[in-house]
């Protein structure tokens, strides 16, 4: 029945023609019969038609049998709506753009959330995989040690397979090349449990799970194979070197297989390589952390059963290993499934979700205003339709269909946005593209969400104006035009709020832009020209912390011997570098306590930077590396020892410190941090130490010879050397990104507010068309009318702007750490922001105002 109906409907055109022919035949035959009975030719046909009844009506009624009427009417409405909307491209553009904003941000957000919370990583049948978590401390859900995992794997009956893995960036040598790759050590049946097959070769065998056995095998990620080995089909059997050991490539995983870590693996090794990639950890230590666990349950086992079983087994194992008990939890395979992460993220995600929903509401409110304005100018058209017999319900539906069309178009565009934007954002946050395994694809859940958002947007943006339009317009509309309705206070308040938000974001952007300008010509307080920054690459090389001082000393000595090099020093961290720690410092004599930045440096650090000592002395080569001697900056000296000589004074931190020197203030952590108290210790260099090189002459030869020279010393060095100006540029880059983000947000907000202002202005103008006509009939100049309309709208804008200024000052305070050389309440920024806002508002109100001024007084008077 349903199928037949569908077929009828699909063949609707053909069927209607057949029906018509059939009915026509009927009339012909009737006429023939009537002619036989003596009717004249003409009368016969007329009589036949008369007896048949209303032809068109009967045709319609017959069609109704197979096509539901509401459906055919809906099709009419859609066609009509498309025509109406395409005849008003300006309105359509503004409305769709606004809705794209509202739906788009939510779609992007949902896509991200979806990918974190639901979408499993690139593994086979991720929906049926479960992650196993152990609670190592209250609320600290993580993986477990190798022996712990092995005990569970060997004894669990509810699992079909259980895989364990653990990843870290590590040095891989191939011939002359060496890279730091995300190296993941996995147990033997990892690929059996999760894998999607191999492009080349094979995976590991289960025998590789024995800690005494370390098969010299590696499997490459498809992307690694493409990017590092040029997709060479002969890569199988290629020798690699990892942590001083040789391994052989045995396979290339199928394209798209990412294993199960948030960081994208580049190469897989058998589990026992964990001891190499994680120096200091051991396969046999039941306390080591952590292998992540993913498994698959037997078809007969439920998740509860499996969890209960693992809890029992885990308790057995931990008590035998005399460890504290750990609860076990089974979750689905996704990033947010970890309970710790989900609580962390829900505190972040929920407010964002609420904010974005408000943006959707705001966008809808603005479109609703636009619709209202349009509805009142369309009054005549609608009145005509009503007069011709259209039901109110039908007109209402027509208007709603138009809204639905707008929202649907916006929804489709939002899907495009949500497919493109999240990956970009995450790549930007991760620093380099393609390092995370999240795939932000529009899956069925995203589609469902956008569909829901489209319906919500249709209701929020369309229902109110449609109802109001249908209600206020009656048949009198034909004669009189529309009567003004009550003043919309809600509208004004909404608009003012938008303007305020805009003002805040705009002035924030201005502040950041000003700060950027200042940063560009910033004086960092040290001489960054002729200075090279070099990272050593030791952290991922497998070298131990104990080896670090020897390696660094060797390197600095070798570098100092290079031609053109004047001074070599090391520091951890370097000024304007990334990580900084701080500590509490107390002056023991006054008990004054301050928060100060801390750095570890070598002798010659200040000389390399060109920062002068104001008092005391620099670290010497003979200062014991773990001594209590510190050098402080001027800012700290003034804070703790005002008016005194700080040299020789003692300080208290976790232990007693002695000040041996004071240096002039210079930029330490970030731009504008010159005045922040800072102290430097001299400790033994760690693996993460950065080398600073002051040189004279051209920089290229040094940059060129440096990496090779270091590798000659020890191949664990993987130097990346660059002029200090690049470090400074990178530090500026973060403020630039911040300014860009604020700028984009402000721009979007301005756009939405513009639509809002335009909508309200247009609505008010349409309401007052007659009044304006009369005014002009009485002699008002068009110019005066324009000014009047704009002035009225500006009242709301200015009220919102005032509110915005207050907010802007507060927002500036939040931005303080990003600002350099600009005060949070910077008048210039606020004034500029307000001017932009005012100018835009005037422009937005100008169009409806001009329309008002073009009202022909004669027509108005005739209508009265």
């Amino acid at each position: 029945m349903l199928l037949r109906r569908l077929r009828y409907w699909l063949e609707s055109g053909k069927r209607a023609a057949a029906l018509r022919e059939e009915m026509e035949l009927h009339i012909q035959e009737k006429a023939a019969e009537l002619r036989d009975r003596g009717f004249s030719e003409r009368d016969a046909l007329a009589e036949a038609r008369r007896r048949f009844g209303n032809f068109t009506f009967k045709q319609e009624e017959s069609r109704d049998v197979w096509i539901m009427r509401w459906w055919s009417e809906l099709c009419q409405d859609v066609r009509y709506g498309v025509r109406t909307l395409s005849s008003q491209p300006g309105f359509t553009f503004a409305a769709v753009l606004t809705l794209v904003l509202g739906i788009g941000v939510n779609a992007v957000f949902f896509n991200v959330y979806n990918s974190l919370a639901f979408a499993p990583w690139g593994i086979r049948d991720g929906a049926s995989a479960v992650q196993v978590w152990a609670e190592r401390g209250p609320g600290m859900w993580s993986g477990m040690s190798w022996p712990h995992f092995r005990y569970l794997r060997d004894n669990a009956q509810t699992f079909e397979g259980l895989a364990a893995f653990s990843g870290t960036p590590f040095r891989v040598y191939s011939g002359d090349a060496s890279w730091d790759l995300e190296t993941v050590t996995v147990n033997g049946n990892y690929f059996d449990v999760l894998g999607t097959g191999f492009t080349l070769g094979r995976g590991f065998t289960t025998t590789s799970d024995d800690e005494r056995d370390r098969p010299a095998e590696a499997v490459l990620h498809y992307d690694t194979w493409r990017s590092r080995f040029g997709g060479d089909p002969g890569v199988i059997g290629r020798p690699l070197e990892i942590g001083g050991h040789r391994v052989e490539v045995v396979g290339v995983a199928a394209a798209g297989f990412d294993g199960g870590a948030p960081s994208k693996p580049a190469i897989w090794l058998p589990a026992a390589w964990h001891d190499v990639t994680h120096p200091g950890q051991s396969m046999t230590n039941a306390d080591d952390c952590c292998r992540a666990l993913i498994g698959r349950l037997k078809a007969t086992a439920s998740r509860q059963q499996a969890q209960a079983e693992l809890n029992t087994l885990s308790a057995q194992f931990l008590s035998a290993a005399s460890q504290k008990p750990q609860r076990i939890l089974l979750t689905s395979a996704s990033f947010l499934a970890n309970p710790r992460r989900s609580t962390q993220f829900s505190t972040i995600l929920l407010p964002i979700a609420v904010a974005f929903f408000l943006i959707l509401l705001l966008a809808c409110a603005n479109v609703s205003n636009l619709q209202l304005a349009r509805g009142s100018s369309r009054g005549r058209e609608i009145a005509v339709r009503l007069a011709l017999g259209a039901g109110r319900g039908r007109v209402l539906r027509q208007l709603m269909v138009e809204s639905l069309l707008l929202s649907t178009l916006a929804g489709i565009l939002s899907l495009v946005v949500s497919a493109a934007v999240p990956a970009r954002i995450f790549d930007m946050a991760a620093g380099s593209p393609g390092t995370l395994t999240f795939r932000f694809e529009n899956d069925i859940r995203v589609y469902a969400f956008v569909l829901l958002a489209v319906f919500a947007a249709t209701l929020f943006s369309g229902l109110l104006p449609a109802l109001q339009t249908v209600r206020t317009i009656d048949l009198n509309g034909l004669r009189e035009g529309t009567r003004a309705t009550a003043r919309g206070w809600t509208r004004s308040i909404l608009l003012a709020a938008q303007v305020a938000l805009c003002a805040i974001l705009l002035s924030g952007t201005m502040l950041l832009v000003r700060s950027l300008n200042n940063v560009r010509d910033a004086n960092v307080g040290f001489d960054h020209r002729s200075l090279i920054v070099t990272s050593t690459g030791l952290e991922t090389s497998g070298a131990t912390q104990r080896e670090a001082p020897g390696l660094i000393d060797e390197l600095t000595a070798a570098v100092a011997a290079l031609p053109g090099v004047e001074t070599v020093a090391w520091a951890s961290p370097i000024p304007l570098g990334e990580d900084f720690s701080d500590t509490d410092i107390t002056n023991p004599s006054t008990n004054e306590r301050i928060d100060a930045g801390v750095g570890a440096v070598s002798a010659g650090f200040f000389r390399a930077l060109g920062v002068p000592l104001l008092a005391g002395r620099d670290f010497g080569p003979r200062d014991s590396t773990d001594s209590n001697l510190v050098i402080i900056n001027e800012a700290m000296a003034q804070r703790l020892f005002p008016g005194e000589n700080a040299v020789g004074k003692s300080l208290r931190s976790s232990r007693q410190l002695e000040v041996i020197g004071v240096v002039r203030n210079f930029t330490t952590m970030r731009f504008g941090s010159d005045e922040i108290p800072f102290l430097w210790k001299t400790a033994s260099p760690g693996l993460g130490t950065t080398i600073l090189i002051r040189y004279s002459g051209p920089v290229e030869p040094i940059l060129h010879t440096l990496p090779g020279r270091a590798r000659e010393l020890d191949r664990r060095f993987l130097l990346s050397a660059a002029p200090y100006s690049e470090t400074i540029a990178a530090a500026q880059g973060s403020s630039r990104r911040m300014a860009a983000v604020a700028g984009v947000l402000a721009g979007l907000c301005l756009l939405v507010a513009c639509v809002g202002i335009y909508g309200v202005a247009a609505y008010n103008a349409a309401q007052r068309t007659r009044e304006m006509g009369i005014r002009m009939a009485m002699g008002a100049q068009p110019r005066a009318v324009i000014v009047m309309v704009i002035r009225e709208n500006l009242r709301t804008v200015i009220a919102g702007g005032m509110l915005g200024i207050v907010g802007a000052i507060g927002f500036g305070q939040l931005l303080t750490s990003w600002l350099y050389g600009v005060k949070p309440g910077d008048a210039f920024s606020i004034v500029t922001a307000m001017s932009i806002l005012l100018a835009t508002s005037v422009l937005a109100a100008l169009i409806p105002a001009r329309r008002c001024s073009r009202v022909d007084p004669a027509i108005t008077l005739r209508q009265e």
Partner: protein
């Protein structure tokens, strides 16, 4: 737009039954069905001819009759309808119901 279906048969649904009955005697096209019904009722039943077509569509959608293009008795192209097996079953059911209904009405009217 406020139009109402006009039912001119005194017993709702009886048109469907009449069409099925007529077709159970042989294949016919639309016009002939009307003629047939009128003749076999001794010209007592007058059908609004236009109403036939919605009814035919309905019957066909239900799968009770089947229409095919063919030639009418006076050699014109027309849709010839025939009753299906499902339609025959339906006819028996409707006849039964109709009998009960008329009997009941007759009782009320004390015509026994």
């Amino acid at each position: 737009m406020g139009r109402k279906a006009q039912k001119n048969d005194s017993l709702p649904g009886s048109l469907d039954m009449l069409i099925l009955k007529t077709l159970s005697r042989g294949k016919l096209h639309g016009y002939a069905i009307v003629q047939n019904i009128q003749q076999s009722s001794g010209d007592e039943l007058l059908i609004e001819e236009g109403s036939l077509y919605p009814a035919l569509q309905r019957l066909e959608l239900n799968g009770w009759i089947d229409g095919e293009w063919g030639l009418t008795s006076n050699n014109r192209r027309g849709r010839i309808y025939k009753i299906t097996a499902k339609g025959r079953k339906q006819l028996i059911e409707e006849t039964e119901r109709y009998k009960q209904l008329t009997l009941a009405i007759a009782r009320v009217m004390e015509m026994d």
